[in-house]
């Protein structure tokens, strides 16, 4: 019998985690809609990354004037047609991807960075801390995000940056609500009580036990919210309070296009299609993630 202990290989040490990961991948790949979502999301990220190199008329992004070409229907030269300035709509729609993904990432990023710590604090510490945080959250959640954002943008003045600020301000409470419920239920789990019993500090318990166990619902919500935040930002653009033309942004493009309805239909159709596909992709992806990571929850 050998006494030397051979160090277990990576696969052996992480057998459980690897098995779990394989299970997630298997479940995810089994759902056609999840895979479609993943494909769309990847596609839009690629467009955002390589857009400037693949579009036919990069100069049109900043609003060049080319009035001879204005409002041309879709053709081989201009796949999505041209707008009232004669700019190529395909170029502008593709380049707006980057704006929208940035906007989505920023809003969701700020919301998680603010909401998650507050939610964990509320759920884990309870008492007065919880009351104050949750009441504040409830107040914010009592008005639909788009309305509060509208009010904030009206006060700050229109513009894409103000739109992002407004949407970030209205977006974090959702994460507080989500994380608080989870942290509250985790607080009384035997493994957390055990950690407390052996004298682990609050910071350690929060970092090692609470946060990782909240991760699944946060990831799911964040991926769904990417789509919804992009939609909300585009809505502000449509109302005329978000991005301002000629900066390429889908919502703002539709806002202008409305005045050219119904004769110049393509102007509104393609930017809208881009919004729809992006949001659809993130939602399908998030929905698929939820089915495997967080099957118990089913908030609409």
């Amino acid at each position: 019998m050998s006494t030397a202990l051979s160090r277990p290989s990576f696969a052996e040490r992480h057998a459980a985690a690897l098995r779990q990961a394989r299970f997630f991948a298997w479940s995810f790949a089994r759902s056609p809609s999840s895979m479609l979502g993943l494909a769309i999301v990847l596609g839009f990220f690629l467009l955002a990354a390589f857009g400037p190199w693949i579009v036919p008329y990069p100069a049109d992004a900043t609003g060049a004037m080319n009035l001879a070409n204005r409002l041309q229907p879709p053709s081989t030269a201009h796949w999505f047609g041209t707008d009232e300035m004669g700019n190529d709509l395909y170029t502008r729609v593709v380049l707006a991807t980057r704006t929208s993904l940035w906007v989505g990432l920023t809003i969701v990023g700020v919301a998680t960075l603010v909401g998650v710590p507050l939610g964990i604090a509320a759920g884990y510490f309870g008492g007065v801390v919880r009351s104050v945080i949750m009441r504040l959250t409830d107040v914010f959640l009592s008005v639909p995000g788009i309305v509060l954002a509208l009010a904030i943008v009206a006060a700050l003045g229109p513009g894409i940056l103000n739109g992002i600020i407004a949407l970030s301000i209205v977006w974090w409470p959702g994460y507080v609500r989500l994380v608080e419920a989870k942290a509250l239920s985790l607080r009384n789990e035997p493994f957390v009580e055990a950690a407390r019993a052996v004298g682990a500090s609050h910071a350690r318990i929060l970092a090692v036990h609470i946060l990782p166990n909240c991760a699944s619902p946060i990831i799911v919500k964040a991926s769904m919210d990417m789509g919804l935040a992009i939609l909300a930002a585009a809505s502000l653009g449509f109302i005329g309070l978000g991005a301002k033309p000629p900066a390429p942004e889908w919502g703002a493009m539709i806002s202008v296009a409305r005045t050219y309805m119904p004769n110049w239909w393509w102007y509104a159709v393609f930017p809208g299609l881009a919004i729809y596909l992006t949001v659809l992709g993130f939602n399908l992806f998030g929905d698929g993630l939820r089915d495997i990571l967080d099957p118990k929850s089913n908030r609409g």
């Binding site: 639909p144 309305v147 089913n298």
Partner: protein
């Protein structure tokens, strides 16, 4: 039960106060000068200062806040610069149109969402279920303002079946106002031509507005039904010979309806919010369109008034849902 309702009412009051604080803060962080805005672009410095004093905008913030709250308690939401009427008067004038639209959409959402969710759950992981889920996600992803335009293109411009926008044709005589909801008022007055015209105007906006609501009702109902259908008491009902349709539509649905109800309450508020977009597309003269036109003009008071009104609606809806929960769930009825 009474204690529970009173407690919830107190909490609602607290939340409303919180919301008032938020609207006050938001209107006072504004970099633009409301006095200058109210005075108009050609006003002299003196005129602006006069208006500033008149509106109390020269007072310290806490005094302004107290005046603001005191005004709210008397139903004074300020005056709109654009319409020059008090905001409360405008809201009373525009809210019925929005209420009509939201009620219609909510009805559509529930009538379509609940059965589709049930069907999807029963046929879980089969083709119709995949399709329904895909449609549900699509409906959330559809930008209301864009899809509204597409529907207008198809049904109003191309097919010429439905009017593009507004609530009534110019030529249609409006019904005598009772509630301000044209569908209701014209039906009461027996003006069926007006009723038909109102319906044809309301179809498209109500449909577009109902989509996100329909989708979330569908999803929640599906998820709940799946869970309930795999529960022990459903197995027991089956084993005891209760017919399959009755198991699904009575035994399971009653349990699945509770979370669905919560979503309906939540969606009531969100729907009022979405009117901001839908009413803009369809020129529907409700509070959403009112808020948007005011926001673009930099006229805060109407925007804050609409925000408060929607927040109040949301709180009342949730209060009603909580009470209904107590009525429908026997476990809560006895424990509270």
């Amino acid at each position: 039960m009474l204690a529970f309702v009173l407690k919830r009412l107190a909490l609602t009051g607290l939340m409303l106060f919180g919301l008032v604080c938020i609207t006050f803060v938001v209107s006072n962080v504004a970099p633009s000068d409301p006095a200058a805005l109210a005075a108009g672009p050609d006003a002299t410095r003196d005129m602006v200062e006069t208006i500033r004093r008149e509106y109390g905008l020269d007072r310290p913030l806490h005094e302004q806040f107290l005046r603001y709250v005191a005004g709210l308690l008397q139903g004074d939401l300020g005056r709109s610069i654009v319409t020059t009427r008090p905001v409360s008067v405008d809201l009373a004038r525009y809210f019925p149109a929005t209420l009509e639209l939201v009620l219609l959409s909510m009805t559509l959402g529930v009538l379509l969402g609940v059965p589709l969710g049930m069907a999807s759950a029963v046929l879980k992981n089969r083709a119709p279920d995949h399709l329904t889920r895909f449609v549900a996600v699509s409906l959330v992803a559809l930008p209301a303002f864009w899809f509204g335009i597409l529907l207008q293109l198809l049904f109003s411009v191309h097919l010429e079946w439905l009017p593009t926008s507004g609530r009534l044709d110019v030529a249609t005589p409006p019904p005598p106002p009772i509630t301000g909801m044209i569908l209701f008022d014209s039906a009461v007055a027996g003006q069926w031509a007006t009723f038909r015209d109102a319906v044809s105007h309301a179809v498209l906006p109500a449909l577009v507005l109902s989509f996100p609501c329909l989708a979330s009702i569908l999803r929640v109902n599906r998820a709940e039904m799946i869970e309930v259908l795999s529960s022990d008491y459903v197995t027991a009902a089956r084993a005891h010979g209760v017919p399959p349709l009755r198991v699904v539509c009575v035994h399971a649905l009653r349990n699945a309806m509770l979370p669905t109800l919560a979503i309906i309450g939540l969606r009531w508020g969100w729907m009022l919010g979405s009117t901001v977009l839908v009413e803009t597309v369809f020129d529907w003269p409700g509070i959403g369109l009112y808020a948007v036109s005011a926001a673009i003009a930099g006229d805060f008071k109407p925007v804050m008034g609409v925000t408060l009104l929607i927040g109040l609606n949301f709180m009342i809806a949730n209060l009603v849902v909580d009470i209904l929960y107590g009525v429908l769930d026997p476990r809560l009825r006895t424990s509270s």
